[in-house]
C-alpha cells in the first residue's frame, strides 16, 4: 500500500473533523463526538509554531491518519513535547500509524532536538500502547480517573521516551 506523509495544512480541516470525530478515535482521545469543519479551519490556520502536526495520505490525497507533537509552553520544559496519533478505523493495522510515528520521532530527534516525548493513553487502548512500546516508550505510571470516557472517569497510562542528543546529560 502506498501513502505519503506531509505537514498538515488548513485545507485538511474537513478531513480532520471527520477523522477526529470517528467513534474509535473519540473513545481513545479527549475529542468530542461532534466537530465542525469551521472550528478545525480556525485551529489549523492558527496552529502555533510549537505544534508540529503531520498527516498520511493515500495516492489520491485522502487523509488516512494524523500525528503530531506539541512542545510544552513552560520554559523549563521546552525539551518536552506531548504527542498524538490517530488512524482512521479502515486504515488500522496497515502500517500507517507506525510510519507516522517513525516520522514524528525523526523530526523530534534529528531536527527539533527534543529530549522527552510523552503521552497519555487510556488503559483499554492496548493497540496504541503496544505500538508505543515497540518504539521505546516506557510506562511511567497510571493516572487515576483521568478522563471522561463514555460517561465514566477512566484511568490513563503515562508513557514517555527519552532521547539524549550527543554530549548532553544521560
Amino acid at each position: 500500500m502506498s501513502f505519503h506523509i506531509r505537514r498538515i495544512e488548513p485545507d485538511d480541516a474537513a478531513a480532520m473533523a471527520q477523522l477526529q470525530s470517528a467513534p474509535g478515535v473519540v473513545r481513545h482521545t479527549s475529542q468530542q463526538p461532534y466537530q465542525s469543519v469551521a472550528d478545525w479551519q480556525h485551529r489549523l490556520q492558527h496552529l502555533p509554531a510549537d505544534n508540529h502536526w503531520l498527516v498520511a495520505c493515500t495516492a489520491d490525497g485522502e487523509v488516512m491518519a494524523s500525528a503530531g507533537l506539541n512542545i510544552l509552553p513552560q520554559v523549563r520544559c521546552r525539551h518536552v513535547a506531548d504527542i498524538f496519533l490517530v488512524v482512521r478505523d479502515e486504515w488500522q493495522g496497515k502500517g500507517v500509524g507506525r510510519a507516522l510515528l517513525q516520522a514524528l520521532l525523526d523530526l523530534s530527534d534529528n531536527w527539533l532536538g527534543l529530549i522527552r516525548l510523552e503521552l497519555m493513553a487510556q488503559q483499554d487502548n492496548q493497540r496504541a500502547i503496544a505500538l508505543y512500546e515497540r518504539f521505546g516508550f516506557r510506562h511511567e505510571g497510571v493516572v487515576r480517573q483521568d478522563i471522561l470516557q463514555d460517561g465514566c472517569y477512566v484511568d490513563s497510562v503515562v508513557m514517555a521516551r527519552l532521547h539524549w542528543p550527543e554530549g548532553r546529560q544521560a
Partner: protein
C-alpha cells in the same frame, strides 16, 4: 489574633509576589525562572483567567508569605480536574503555613469548584512538599523522567493526585 490569614491576590500584590518568587528555593522547586519581573506578576494578576484560582497567605503585619494556584482543565473531558502549585517563603517554612494554604485550596476545589481530581508535579527531592502533599491525601501516580530543567540538570518529577472521596451533596 491569628498569625496569618488567607485572601485572594490583588493587583497591588505584584511586587510582593515578585519578591517571594525571586528566592531560588521557590522558583527552583516550581517551574518558574530566576529574576521574575514585576511586569510578569502584574500581568498575571491582571489576567482574570476564569480557569485560574489563586490564593495567598498574609502575615499579621501584612507580608505575603505564601502563594498557591489551581488551574482548571479547559478540555471538557478533563474538566473534572485541576493542577495545583504553591510556594512558601523560606523563613515561614515548617510552621504550618503550607498546610493552611493547601487546606484552603482543597476546600475550594472540593466544595466550591466541584472538582473531582487535583493533581500536581513535585521534584522528587523536595521532601517538605512531598510530606505536605501526602498528609493531605495526594498519592504518587507516575515518575516523569527528565521532565524539567532545574539548575542545569533535567530532573525527574513525581506526578501526584488526590481524588475527592465524598460524593457531591444531595447525591445520597
Amino acid at each position: 489574633m491569628s498569625k496569618y490569614h488567607i485572601r485572594k491576590p490583588e493587583p497591588a500584590d505584584a511586587a510582593a509576589l515578585q519578591a517571594l518568587m525571586s528566592d531560588p528555593l521557590c522558583y527552583g522547586n516550581t517551574l518558574q525562572l530566576p529574576y521574575p519581573s514585576l511586569q510578569l506578576w502584574q500581568q498575571r494578576l491582571a489576567s482574570n483567567d476564569p480557569l485560574h484560582h489563586a490564593l495567598l497567605l498574609e502575615s499579621a503585619d501584612g507580608q505575603v508569605i505564601a502563594h498557591g494556584s489551581l488551574w482548571r482543565e479547559s478540555v471538557p473531558r478533563l474538566a473534572h480536574g485541576a493542577s495545583l502549585g504553591m510556594a512558601v517563603q523560606r523563613e515561614w517554612q515548617g510552621q504550618g503555613v503550607g498546610s493552611a494554604l493547601l487546606q484552603a485550596m482543597l476546600d475550594l476545589a472540593d466544595n466550591w469548584l466541584g472538582l473531582h481530581r487535583v493533581e500536581l508535579t513535585v521534584f522528587d527531592d523536595n521532601a517538605a512538599a512531598l510530606a505536605l502533599y501526602r498528609k493531605y491525601g495526594f498519592v504518587e501516580e507516575a515518575r516523569l523522567r527528565a521532565y524539567a530543567l532545574r539548575a542545569g540538570r533535567y530532573e525527574d518529577v513525581l506526578k501526584m493526585a488526590r481524588l475527592r472521596t465524598c460524593p457531591p451533596a444531595g447525591a445520597a
